[in-house]
């Protein structure tokens, strides 16, 4: 209990400090705007004075309207244009903003951490503390339905130190919804706040976490049909294109058209053939050859020795005598030495046969043959 109390106190003090710093930064930004506005006004006054002195009536006429000033452009030369910063209304608005921010800074300086602590205690009653460093909570917005379309239970993760909100849909498979978690939440879990981001950030900066929680809750239960990431129709029917092979829907960028099957294939259902440099369906891809079946059929040949298939370039040509006719066979690198030896032996045999031929076939010129004599009879 004491641990929770000190944690809440610590976070509340950090929130106040951060709020104070953001107000100071905002004050500096307004002061810079005021400085720029003063410079623009002084410049316009100088231009007016110069035009009067030189009697540039055309220039005077153009500059006489409030807010009009001169600008030099490398393309158009000198031209008149409207600069809001030179107007008294702009100056008045900046001064009002400066007064407001100074008031807020004074309030923040004297602010007690009690309201932030009360917010944090209320938040911890309604949400689960995920981590203390950085402090992060999560809660579930249950049973979200938009215009009778079931969206699901949405888990909201909120970081208390920085303005980080992520929403995850754990009820439906969002793959066929383009990864979108909700019509107004993208695939990374980021909410598109529409016109509500300033309010959401203001709640967060001031430690009004319960108001921020309500805002998130109501935003997730509202459908803005003018600009959703994904329309409710697509949420129901799925987005993207169906993969020809598996039928799953994917964003168009994730699919590739293949001539092989004349259809789109997802990453899981396609393989790339380095040989013909085309995608094919995974069923038409030969993993042993790391190529498509077309390439294998056209460019792979069976080894005359072992009977396995090899790329034609990987086979060796061996000249052999086949029924005394010169012939050639293709053999793989493993079979080639064996065949070479065999062929050498065959050549020796042929040489022997040639040497013996006269003795075997000498009868024609009256010589005795090996088969003459009693055996021949």
């Amino acid at each position: 209990m004491a641990s929770t109390a000190s944690f809440v106190r610590e976070v509340a003090l950090r929130v106040l400090e951060r709020h104070s710093l953001s107000l100071q930064a905002e004050k500096q930004r307004i002061l810079e705007e005021i400085r720029l506005a003063k410079r623009s006004r002084r410049r316009r006054e100088r231009l007016l004075q110069l035009a009067r002195e030189k009697g540039f009536q055309f220039c005077l006429g153009r500059l006489s309207s409030p807010g009009m000033t001169l600008e030099r452009s490398p393309y158009y030369g000198v031209s008149t244009h409207y600069d809001q910063r030179t107007t008294p209304e702009h100056e008045a608005s900046l001064n009002e903003m400066l007064r407001a921010i100074r008031r807020e800074i004074r309030q923040a300086r004297n602010a007690s951490p009690d309201p932030v602590e009360a917010n944090l205690r209320g938040l911890l009653d309604e949400a689960e503390l995920v981590s203390k460093k950085p402090p992060e909570v999560r809660w579930v917005v249950e049973n979200v339905e938009l215009q009778d379309v079931w969206i699901g239970d949405l888990e909201v993760n909120l970081t208390l130190d920085d303005f980080r909100v992520h929403v995850w849909n754990h009820s439906v498979d969002t793959d066929d919804k383009g990864g979108y978690q909700h019509p107004h939440v993208n695939g990374e879990g980021n909410i598109c706040w529409g016109d509500n981001e300033t309010a959401a950030q203001a709640y967060h900066h001031s430690g009004d976490f319960l108001a921020l929680k309500d805002l998130i809750h109501n935003l997730l239960r509202t459908y803005n049909g003018h600009s959703p990431y994904i329309t409710l129709d697509d949420w129901i029917n799925g987005v993207g294109t169906a993969c020809y092979e598996c039928g799953e829907r994917y964003p168009d960028d994730d699919l590739v058209w293949t001539e092989d099957i004349e259809g789109y294939l997802c990453e899981s259902c396609r393989s790339y053939c380095d040989r013909c440099q085309k995608y094919v369906c995974y069923r038409h891809y030969d993993r042993d050859f790391a190529a498509c079946q077309n390439c294998v059929e056209e460019h792979a040949i069976t080894c005359g020795g072992c009977g396995d298939k090899f790329w034609e370039n990987d086979l060796e040509t061996l000249e052999v005598a086949w029924f005394d006719q010169p012939s050639a066979i293709l053999v793989c690198k493993d079979c080639f030495p064996e065949f070479q030896k065999q062929e050498d032996r065959n050549e020796d045999l042929h040489d022997t046969a040639r040497l013996l031929a006269p003795a075997v076939d000498g009868s024609a010129n009256g010589q005795r043959t090996l088969f003459d004599g009693h055996l021949a009879a």
Partner: protein, 81 residues
């Protein structure tokens, strides 16, 4: 005992910025919202009170010193970009 209470109102139309209001003691939530033309049926109304955390008040809830009142519209349109 003071006959005034100071509350902070998170203005639903002001980009979430806080406004301080000093009210007569005994002012109820319904009275406060009525003056500002806020229909509580269209909002999530919540009070954060020191020592009590956050709660959804009834219409006749009387403000206490230091209350933070937020009124978040039920219809909040998100967008895509």
């Amino acid at each position: 005992m003071s006959n005034k209470v100071t509350i902070t109102y998170l203005n639903r139309d002001g980009g979430g910025f806080a406004e301080r209001h000093t009210l007569d003691a005994g002012t109820t939530v319904a009275q406060f919202l009525e003056v500002r033309g806020v229909n509580a049926d269209n909002c999530t109304v919540r009070i954060v009170r020191t020592g009590q955390g956050g709660f959804t008040p009834t219409a006749d809830e009387v403000f206490q010193e230091g209350d933070r009142l937020s009124c978040v519209p039920l219809k909040i349109e998100g967008a895509s970009a």
